[in-house]
């Protein structure tokens, strides 16, 4: 832009000049030539910027960073530990807040249509509004949604509707989880499809909202609420989401980039005589955190051998390691998120009972203590998608620790309470 617009204010001119000077590496003279009418006023300001830019950037020493981190980790409250008898459920999203967030940006007309129909006594349709997969009325609910989708496409607000439906699908999963009902494959498939559709059409705010949903789903993954097949699909979605969002969201300077810039600027810093500290040598990895973590878990935790894959499931390429019917690997490797960080947390190091141990000797006749499914027990096969509380193979390490500790304690207590025990 060599000729400035006649109405360009000085603030805008200054900002354009700063942009050229700081980020496009143009010279001061070139910037001033672009805006001759403002050159006299611009020059001292741009010179001041050039001087300020050369201030040396202080760096906290690596030793100090690590020491402070250690102190902070001690101050960090322990994660809330789930009781062994507690049924892991999907995290509850507050429907009112979801709706409010959605309403904030959605076409009011779509909301009114839904509200008027469901809320104003739409007969069977209204009755089906709270139905979940597996119920008779659910078919009506989905058919009505298809109709609304068709109508929405005519008024051009598909993004709002898909976002809404993604939340609806997620709430249905939560409802099933809270009722301790198995989640059918079709429900997961619907969630995945709706989520993809919603994300593809969402704007930045809606994407943030969906990312929060993903974070909740990630909790479900860790709580073993998600069947392995869909876990792999979810990983793919998260990965794709991360990449796409990186392209669209505002670029904020990363620590690595900052350090690189520091290196360049420090060479010419006007404080060259000041003492220089060694920069921290632990840049934060830029690879996606959760994806690495969950993939790692997928490789080491396989489904119990008693589970029979149904033909209706469509295997995903990334699922290959977990879809094998190898015996249950007793100890899943720690998530990759732990290994990425320089500080190891001793409290997380837990010795767990393995499959080679005699689990019956650990917990003799304790019906109230749930045991992991025994592959060779000959009992009735668990359902393909079992209720939340019984899906043990991918159980979280903290829960394993609680289980191990409490069963050992229970065993000890029982032994001491029994007079004729050896």
């Amino acid at each position: 832009m060599n000729t400035p617009a006649p109405t360009l204010s000085f603030d805008d001119t200054l900002n354009l000049s700063l942009q050229a000077l700081l980020h496009e590496r143009e010279s001061l003279e070139t910037c001033l030539e672009k805006y001759p009418q403002y050159a006299a006023e611009l020059k001292p300001l741009l010179q001041t910027v050039l001087l300020t830019q050369r201030l040396k950037k202080p760096v906290m020493s690596a030793a100090r960073v690590d020491a402070l981190q250690e102190r902070l980790m001690q101050a960090f409250p322990d994660a809330p530990v789930q009781h062994e008898t507690e049924t892991p459920t999907l995290p509850v999203r507050r429907p009112v807040m979801i709706f409010a967030a959605w309403m904030g940006r959605s076409a009011a007309i779509v909301a009114l249509i839904l509200l008027a129909t469901f809320g104003a006594g739409g007969g069977t349709v209204a009755a089906s509004a709270n139905s979940v997969p597996g119920e008779t009325l659910y078919t009506i609910k989905r058919a009505w949604e298809d109709l609304i989708l068709l109508f929405t496409s005519l008024i051009g607000r598909m993004d709002d509707m898909h976002l809404h439906l993604a939340h609806v699908r997620w709430e249905e999963l939560q409802t099933l989880s809270q009722r301790e009902q198995p989640i059918p494959d079709s429900a997961w498939q619907s969630f995945m499809q709706t989520f993809k559709a919603a994300y593809q059409q969402a704007d930045e705010n809606a994407q943030n909202d969906l990312i929060q949903v993903l974070a909740d789903v990630e909790v479900a993954v860790n709580q073993a609420a998600l069947p392995p097949t869909y876990r792999a699909d979810l990983i793919a979605i998260v990965d794709q989401t991360r990449r796409e969002t990186t392209d669209t969201l505002l670029t904020v300077q990363t620590p690595a980039a900052t350090q690189e810039a520091e290196t360049t600027q420090d060479a010419a810093a006007i404080e060259a005589v000041e003492s220089t500290e060694i920069p921290t040598s632990s840049p934060v990895p830029t690879e996606p955190l959760m994806i690495v973590s969950t993939v790692t878990e997928l490789v080491v935790t396989s489904a119990p051998p008693t589970r029979t894959p149904t033909p209706s499931r469509t295997p995903t390429p990334s699922l290959t390691p977990s879809s094998t019917s190898t015996p249950l690997t007793p100890l899943p490797s720690p998530p990759a998120t732990y290994t990425r960080l320089p500080l190891s947390i001793p409290s997380q190091v837990i010795v767990l009972p393995t499959q080679t141990q005699d689990s019956s000797s650990l917990v003799p006749n304790k019906p109230d203590v749930p045991l992991p499914p025994d592959p060779g027990s000959g009992e009735e096969d668990p359902p393909l998608v079992p209720p939340m509380g019984t899906f043990d193979p991918i159980i979280r390490p903290t829960m394993r620790a609680v289980y191990a500790t409490q069963t050992a304690l229970a065993n000890g207590a029982e032994q001491s309470a029994t007079p004729d025990s050896p």
């Binding site: 900002n15 001041t48 902070l72 969201l249 404080e271």
Partner: protein
């Protein structure tokens, strides 16, 4: 660290996963430290306050809500509150006299090392004389090198407000430097030669 990764880490940290918080800490500790050093002109105090900022972050994490702004913006807000608290406790902010007391090497035949040192001292002191908002925009925009939109997000303002703010900040800073007798043009020429 991109936004999605950051949001996932924040969600994990809120659930009590300390490794996630450690990753957030590693990502942002240097930015917070630099900000505090530039605002305080004192590494020791900046070091202490950096620790305070992250302790407060741990304490406030349970109430943290993602409003679409970077997590760093929240940390900057905590850091700013710590600064205000520090000034309140010490009842000491840099004054005009601090700038006037610094001897200014106006002749270019001074030793270059001393010239740089002095110029840096004058510049830092002059920055510390600006208003809070002006200091923030100078540090984030020109020292840290963030783009206008990023500064707007970090400070929770719109882009036009930052445009106006950076204009006022630069005018004030340039005027203060001129009053001290610092010849910016000559200094820049000397530094680049």
């Amino acid at each position: 660290m991109d936004r999605v990764e950051e949001q996932l880490l924040v969600a994990q940290a809120k659930r009590g996963e300390r490794e996630a918080f450690a990753a957030l800490y590693q990502a942002h500790v240097q930015a917070i430290f630099r900000y505090l050093v530039h605002r305080l002109n004192d590494r020791e105090i900046a070091d202490d306050l950096t620790g305070d900022v992250f302790v407060r972050a741990i304490e406030g994490l349970k109430d943290y809500t993602d409003t679409g702004r970077p997590f760093l913006a929240w940390l900057y807000r905590i850091a700013h509150a710590r600064l205000v608290d520090h000034y309140r406790r010490t009842s000491r902010r840099p004054t005009e006299a601090d700038v006037d007391d610094v001897p200014i090497p106006v002749e270019m035949d001074w030793d270059e090392r001393m010239l740089r040192q002095q110029a840096a001292t004058v510049l830092r002191t002059a920055i510390s004389q600006l208003t809070d908002e002006q200091q923030d925009v100078v540090i984030l925009r020109f020292v840290e090198g963030h783009r206008l939109e990023a500064v707007a997000q970090l400070l929770g303002k719109n882009a036009n407000a930052i445009k106006a703010l950076q204009h006022r900040a630069l005018k004030a800073l340039e005027a203060r430097l001129r009053r001290t007798g610092l010849d910016i043009e000559a200094l820049l020429a000397g530094l680049s030669s």
